[in-house]
Subunit: 317 residues, 2 copies
Amino acid sequence: MRALHWDGHSLRVRPTHPEPKLTAGNAVVKVSLAGICSTDLQILRGYMGFSGIPGHEFVGTVVDGPGTLQGQRVVGEINFACGRCALCAQNLQRHCPTRQVMGILNADGSFAEYLAVPVENLHLVPANVSDEEAVFTEPLAAAFEILEQLDLKPDTEVVVFGDGKLGLLCAQVLHSVGARVTLVGRHAKKLALARRSGIVTMLLSEWTPRLVEVVVEATGSTSGLTLAMATVRPRGTLVLKSTVAQEHALSLAPLVINEVTMIGSRCGRFPPALHALAHTQVAVTPLITATYSLSDGIAAVNRAAESGVLKVLLRNS
Amino acid sequence: MRALHWDGHSLRVRPTHPEPKLTAGNAVVKVSLAGICSTDLQILRGYMGFSGIPGHEFVGTVVDGPGTLQGQRVVGEINFACGRCALCAQNLQRHCPTRQVMGILNADGSFAEYLAVPVENLHLVPANVSDEEAVFTEPLAAAFEILEQLDLKPDTEVVVFGDGKLGLLCAQVLHSVGARVTLVGRHAKKLALARRSGIVTMLLSEWTPRLVEVVVEATGSTSGLTLAMATVRPRGTLVLKSTVAQEHALSLAPLVINEVTMIGSRCGRFPPALHALAHTQVAVTPLITATYSLSDGIAAVNRAAESGVLKVLLRNS
């Protein structure tokens, strides 16, 4: 099959990569669309020491596996868990210590014609959700994760720093449940997308310091983290939605003095995201900057890394 | 009056420092005992840029103020709030943005014969609580603060890192509400105090890595913070109970990946601490290493800074 392959040093389109074999508990999915995420770009810089087929955002059709799933349009959660440990027993498969992670850790991902996924990770896509919408299920679920971790009262003031894909999705999700959201970023065009959904936006250059109950850090930058820490009010909550992988100089003393709660937030469950897509509570397709053929995967990845670009999709055709 | 005075450069016993005057809303307290806290030692190294009379732990007797308080034995909360802002309205005077803090920020403290304290900050000491116990109310309240911030289920596994004064008090408080506490520290003698209360203890040199639901960082050291971060299980909680004032290299990525909740925790309300002292739910007097006369304040401060020393008290006599 055709696949984008990262050997730890270079990324290549392989025209005849071996297809995944059906194994117990898995289904084989023919990928229709895959999304390129910032994490993928980090992986191509060495993050996680991954090698294999990257990609963890997809929508596709089951071509092999349990009969009930055959021919069904699906999306898939990315953490492949053991199902037997204490965290799995608590329905926290996303934190299973021996998990594989699609396209990130010891499992091939979605930048390919076919993909093997545990059956229990698959979710059917509602008929009224297009492929172009469904491919956003994974990052949208990551935005909904905030609501699983934080008891957010309606009318709570929230500032989201970062107008990238994740920041835009977080702002929409929090706005959809009644929070008073301000999205702060560097790109007027990206902020304009959020304003279409009724979200208040502000250019970072216009930001004046104030204290806010809930702050979401979605810039993935040290400067963004520093600003976010300075913006949480005493006893407020700071949600860390993006990772700043490298070590950097930081003092946590202000968190102690102001008794801030800092919540690390990563992957989310898919059902709330699929429900929001089916009920058009969020608008994801305006985030699509470009769609490339899988054969043009290198160009797609390069495009995704350009400044000002939002979601780049790979079409398997 | 006699007072220990820090001018920003040197600490001196002043035999004839002006006594505090009674002003509206305040009471004047004759200090019986004051406690030296690690924060005081930091202040004498320049922390907070404070100058004046340090000290924020005390028990004393009201000598001037409202008639109902005259002659009463009291302890006092250390944050002097405006009473009018949004945080004060939420009963979070400890976070009032324009607060003074006794012996720490723009207000003289307790290392003196007399001390002025807002009446609303004072709490009567129950008759069965000795001065030597009551002088621990402030740090004990800081330990109880964890219970105000965290919904701690009985039988939850908790590891407290740091066998200093605060770690010992935190371990006792968490143990007293049914948590399964392990206190980890460097000092066999200090750990022995916790074992008297039935707390499991472990020397840091014997610690083997494992993952725990709730971790309390009470070492105030970078290495302690790093170890604490590595010990919280996915979706667990890390309580930062001590400040590491200086910046240090740190990556918060593990907090995001493991979706850890990190809670900064500082001063607490006094009533739970006084209740625990009155009902002998915690043992504080074993933490007293030495008691000095206020006249010997310099020696007392030097002693408090020595390794292995726990609480040093100043007696006003």
